[in-house]
Amino acid sequence: MGRRRPQTTRPARNRNQDAAARDGGHGADARRVGGSSSSVVIGERASARTRMTGTAGGTPLVRIRGLRFARGDRVIFDGVDMEIPRGQITAIMGPSGTGKTTLLKLISGQLRPDAGTVEVDGQDVHRLSHGDLYRMRTRMGMLFQSGALLTDLSVFENVAYPLREHTRLSESMVRKLVLMKLEAVGLRGARDLMPSELSGGMARRVALARAVALDPMMIMYDEPFTGQDPISMGVLVTLIRQLNDASRLTSIVVSHDVGETASIADRIYLIADGKVMAQGTAQEIDACGSDWVQQFMRGEPDGPVHFHYPAPELERDFLG
């Protein structure tokens, strides 16, 4: 299984480079500061092309409009608009604590927004009845950061769980399907292990097999690369891309691992301070003139986001 090389400073996927070349390399020319707030919409022409290809099946799979969500006094999202095209990998990146995981929970209906709408496959998730929401979730998969495997069930039983819950397939069919899904993630031989016997990377691969057990239309990945060794990381990167392409899924990858995520993403949203700071393909984001975007993408310790937490003057603190 080949591994894509992470590009930590100039993240770009071949596909995106090809797209930029076809665009004449001027994708970033259309860069502008968004009319509302500080959102930077870059590569308008290239984005439009990406959207067209991404919405070949019609409307975007996920459409977010005017999303506002707050926890107590802290505003997490304030007027966020997003479109997740069908059949592509869309990355949502941003610093820790900006609400990336919260966004996935809003998309999957686990949280309700204070204002705005989240449509998945044309249906407003938060207007669905309990039954309809659960029916929709059978068409969504989610890979949690921890894997979220049921610790009292074996690997096989974990992957079989959604099949047993939502289908009336015979035991032999369940067995075949589970082994197929495990084979796809390279863990057919680990079927009898318990979750406590798996490494972090293996647990996520099992969780991935479980997430695709019902052949969903989309998968949401919550920080899939966090805490992984380079081999596990490479395996996960390749699996996400292969599963997306082979099963014609739509993937949403939430991460702050810039290099790995940008290497597989067809489209990237950068969020911070409750807003979309920038969006576009990897090289469009890379070529963006925003200092904040550059600091984030290159992992620079100082810039618009200061290294020092606000503090009294140095002299006053040390010299009385």
């Binding site: 999957s108 686990q110 029916r135 989610m142 949690f144």
Partner: protein
């Protein structure tokens, strides 16, 4: 002064909100009963976890409590020449009070805390969210079987506690202190009323099972998903359960045995 009032008001409102959330969760748990009937193996697994795994501590505790009752009862009753009534005293104490109450306290400490920790850790490790994302209702799948497992196990464990306790009292009274065996069992049989003593004791233990399981599951489900949060929730389960059991015991005793 104003700050004190503000804090009082805040904690009062918080308690009311918790009570409301607890009742909503209880309603959701009870509404899950039909799905539990369709999967009885889930209930059996929880009766094993809550009930069978608590048998040892219940049996040993029951034995010692019965032995102490036999010893203390003999010394008091023999002063009035009524040592032959030891069996009634031991059995009435156990069946009416100590069986249900001590069993509930032990179950809260052993199984209630385990339920809270289990559910709290399932929340912390995103297993509950994972179930939701698999379109499986975690309340029906995780909480309802545990609630009814606790509800069914408690009266069975209380009955076991009382039975072993009566044997403990017999061992001390008849075996060691020389109380007549016929008098021990005969008076016990004649004076212990099925409805007034046994049924009331069973009702008490069912109520305690209901409350302990509810508190344990609510605390686990509402736990802050961190190690500190789960630890605090586990402590709250034991404290709240103990207070609820002792308070309810007074109320139930007054209702059942008051004239």
């Amino acid at each position: 002064m104003l700050e004190l009032l503000r804090q009082l008001g805040r904690s009062g409102l918080q308690s009311l909100a918790n009570l409301g959330r607890g009742h909503i969760l209880l309603a959701a748990i009870l509404l899950g009963l039909p799905s539990l009937v369709a999967r009885p193996q889930l209930l059996l697994a929880q009766i094993f976890n809550v009930g069978v795994l608590s048998v040892l501590i219940i049996a040993v505790s029951g034995l010692f409590v019965g032995m102490v009752l036999g010893l203390q009862g003999y010394y008091v009753l023999s002063q009035f020449g009524a040592a032959q009534s030891l069996g009634v005293m031991v059995a009435a104490s156990l069946v009416r009070e100590l069986g249900p109450v001590v069993t509930a306290l032990l179950v809260a400490g052993r199984a209630g805390s385990a339920l809270t920790a289990e559910v709290g850790l399932m929340k912390a490790t995103e297993q509950l969210s994972g179930l939701e994302m698999m379109a499986v209702d975690p309340v029906k799948r995780i909480l309802t079987p545990r609630f009814f497992g606790g509800l069914v196990s408690m009266p069975l464990l209380a009955a076991m506690f009382s039975a072993v306790g009566v044997l403990g009292g017999w061992f001390v009274g008849v075996g060691l202190l020389g109380v007549d065996e016929g008098a021990y069992w005969g008076q016990l049989q004649a004076k212990i009323d099925f409805e007034e003593d046994v049924v009331n004791g069973v009702i008490k233990s069912v109520v305690f099972g209901f409350v302990v399981a509810w508190i344990a599951l609510f605390q686990g489900y509402e736990a802050t998903p961190t190690s500190d949060g789960v630890s605090r929730a586990t402590t709250r389960t034991v404290v709240h359960s103990a207070l609820a059991v002792l308070g309810l015991d007074f109320v139930l005793t007054a209702l059942m045995f008051g004239d």
